[in-house]
Assembly symmetry: C2
Amino acid sequence: MANIYEVRNYEPSQSIGYLMTRVRVEMLAALDRELAADPHLAALGVTAAQFVVLVRLVGNGSKKSASDLCKELSYDAGAMTRMIDRLEKKGLVRRMRCVQDRRLIYLEATEAGRAAYPRMIAVSVGVQNRFLRGFAPEDAQMLSGYLTRMLNNAG
Amino acid sequence: MANIYEVRNYEPSQSIGYLMTRVRVEMLAALDRELAADPHLAALGVTAAQFVVLVRLVGNGSKKSASDLCKELSYDAGAMTRMIDRLEKKGLVRRMRCVQDRRLIYLEATEAGRAAYPRMIAVSVGVQNRFLRGFAPEDAQMLSGYLTRMLNNAG
DNA sequence: ATACAATGTCGGCCTAGGCAGATATATGTA
DNA sequence: TACATATATCTGCCTAGGCCGACATTGTAT
């Protein structure tokens, strides 16, 4: 299989890595802005990064540990500890020591966290739809497929 | 134009935003690892983030200011100041006050920075080709097009 | 039972980005 | 000229992630 890029004619500013980094920066910035602007969510002061973690805790109800989240999100364990600290301080997440395996700490969204969930999802969907403006459903499907393939290539 | 996502059946873990964030995390981590592992570059201690900035300074030889770089890279001005500090401390970049407009500080890659450039590009190309393994050139073209359209939708 | 390895959480230290305010310089206007 | 405005850089404070080592707990091999 031929390589996509060659060193001799590689143009960094047109590479997929560069484009993807910029798109992601713009998407997260938009998400941050709109989370902060939303009248229902502004009081919580939830950032885009916190939102991503919170979604994982509310979405599928199964109890999860911090290390579970780290695996799902390619996240550093130390960073996760501090992220949970911030979410706990805001009253959106609870820590509960597991009695079977006392190394584990199960994480659970609080009532406030669950209550904010639908609105947060709506904001996220709105941002993504805006970035995908003009995309046919098949285009979005293609793009998802490409990203999934790249993720598999990561090892 | 129809929306791609709907709130009622939105699955965060399959969304394009989520996938793109993860791909980008994996790509940057791979770039960091390989920059640190490369025998020619390890001594410089250049991170992926520093690499991105350095590429912009060596690539097209025109003198650039910090604010130029911020616009190109969607970068915060304060963060750029500190990034330049780190690159300067490593001897890869020089600051030169502009005499015509004394607000400006032109940035220039040093000899050491320019010398490391080809090897850094080779590492970057290698990482991206690995993530695009199995992609036909037309696939890569399609993906670039999608990303460019999303960037334009950002406003 | 003891020793060792593996796992989960946490804290310290680093790089890193966003935001707001301060400062210096340049430019346009009355 | 005097003043307001815009621009460029820098600094402080916050959130944030990666790496490493400490610590407790659990599982495994001897």
